[in-house]
């Protein structure tokens, strides 16, 4: 695969990104892609020159499973060769009032400090804010994503969800 500039960032990514929402996902109690299969898929993608991997902190069951599959795959790889995306916003921890949304607290906890993928791989390259809705939340979120981005060299991605959201 060839590589392309990711917008104005200067970061170069493969012309296809690999999405990992099936990793650790259970449908009707059946695991769609287990850790071995996930690693096989990532190996094949990387063999073709793929370096751009998309994830979210809520992918997999329980939440964080997909991130941890990518993290374990990267243990035998050079982390610097891959551009990783994760997302924050959706409910990650239902027992924690700060376990979802785009507050500074949740973004910081999920995206930079305690994200499973971050714990294993040092940093995530891009963080998507999946659901900014109101000007108020946008202002606060931009401020908190800003401090996180400056600290961790992350790139922020707004996600346009399906109509109605």
């Amino acid at each position: 695969m060839e590589y392309r500039q990711l917008g104005a960032t200067g970061t170069r990514v493969s012309e296809l990104c690999f999405g990992t929402w099936r990793f650790g996902r259970k449908t009707g109690g059946v695991l769609e892609t287990d850790e071995d299969d996930a690693h096989e898929l990532l190996d094949a993608f990387a063999d073709h020159g793929g370096n751009y991997i998309d994830c979210a902190n809520i992918y997999g069951d329980p939440n964080g499973t997909s991130e941890s599959y990518i993290g374990s795959w990267l243990e035998d790889r050079d982390r610097e060769k891959y551009v990783l995306t994760s997302k924050v916003y959706f409910e990650y921890d239902s027992d924690n009032p700060n376990g979802s949304g785009l507050s500074r607290t949740h973004i910081r906890n999920r995206s930079t400090k305690r994200s499973k993928i971050s714990a294993q791989t040092t940093w995530t390259s891009t963080i998507s804010t999946a659901g900014m809705k109101t000007p108020q939340s946008k202002r606060r979120s931009l401020r908190s994503t800003d401090s996180s981005k400056r600290a961790k060299s992350t790139i922020w991605v707004p996600q346009r969800w399906l109509p109605g959201n």
């Binding site: 296809l16 929402w21 898929l41 998309d54 000007p135 946008k138 790139i155 922020w156 346009r160 969800w161």
Partner: protein, 178 residues
């Protein structure tokens, strides 16, 4: 997030010297283009990369589904084990008159360039001229992954690209019903 909200976020970032958005991740594929046109025009103008999710429309643009009734676009014949008409989102967003028209054109181009509909669908996204477009592929098997990745090795002409884009419209220039 609407186009104006994205614009406002970029404006707020610039005004306050916050870090700006650099990439957007919309639902975007050949059967769902005009719906996000305004949003994409912001991306083009502001040099944001576009990374579409569901680039194959939940499998619809792979061509594995067949239309079962010429009068009812929601009537679909699905191969065993596929989502078919069972997925509400799939039915609501992809099973439409224009979805089938776009798929027909994608199939025609696929025949012309000796590729699969999935590869042509991905190529159509990768060849967007106004902005960098990097589709997010969600292959379940290594075989699917290999097929998707081979989209990097095919090429379609501008004329073929436009035919797929234009397949959304009838002879009078009106968009097919959704």
């Amino acid at each position: 997030m609407a186009a104006w909200q994205l614009t406002k976020a970029l404006w707020k970032a610039e005004t306050n010297d916050y870090q700006r958005f650099d990439v957007v991740q919309p639902l975007f594929h050949a059967g769902y283009y005009k719906d996000v046109e305004e949003y994409l025009s912001v991306a083009a103008d502001q040099e944001l990369a576009v990374c579409p999710y569901s680039p194959l429309a939940g499998g619809f643009l792979t061509g594995k589904y067949e239309r079962a009734d010429p009068d009812d676009p929601k009537s679909v014949r699905a191969p065993d084990g596929s989502r078919g008409s069972f997925d509400e989102r799939f039915e609501r967003f992809y099973l439409s008159e224009r979805g089938w028209k776009v798929l027909d054109e994608i199939r025609a181009v696929a025949d012309e360039v000796d590729a699969t509909p999935a590869q042509v669908s991905l190529r159509w996204l990768m060849d967007q001229e106004a902005f960098t477009c990097v589709p997010i592929i969600g292959a379940r098997t290594v075989d699917q992954l290999e097929e998707n990745v081979a989209a990097a090795d095919i090429s379609i002409s501008r004329e073929q690209h436009d035919r797929i884009t234009d397949a959304r419209f009838d002879e009078d220039g009106r968009r097919w019903g959704h």
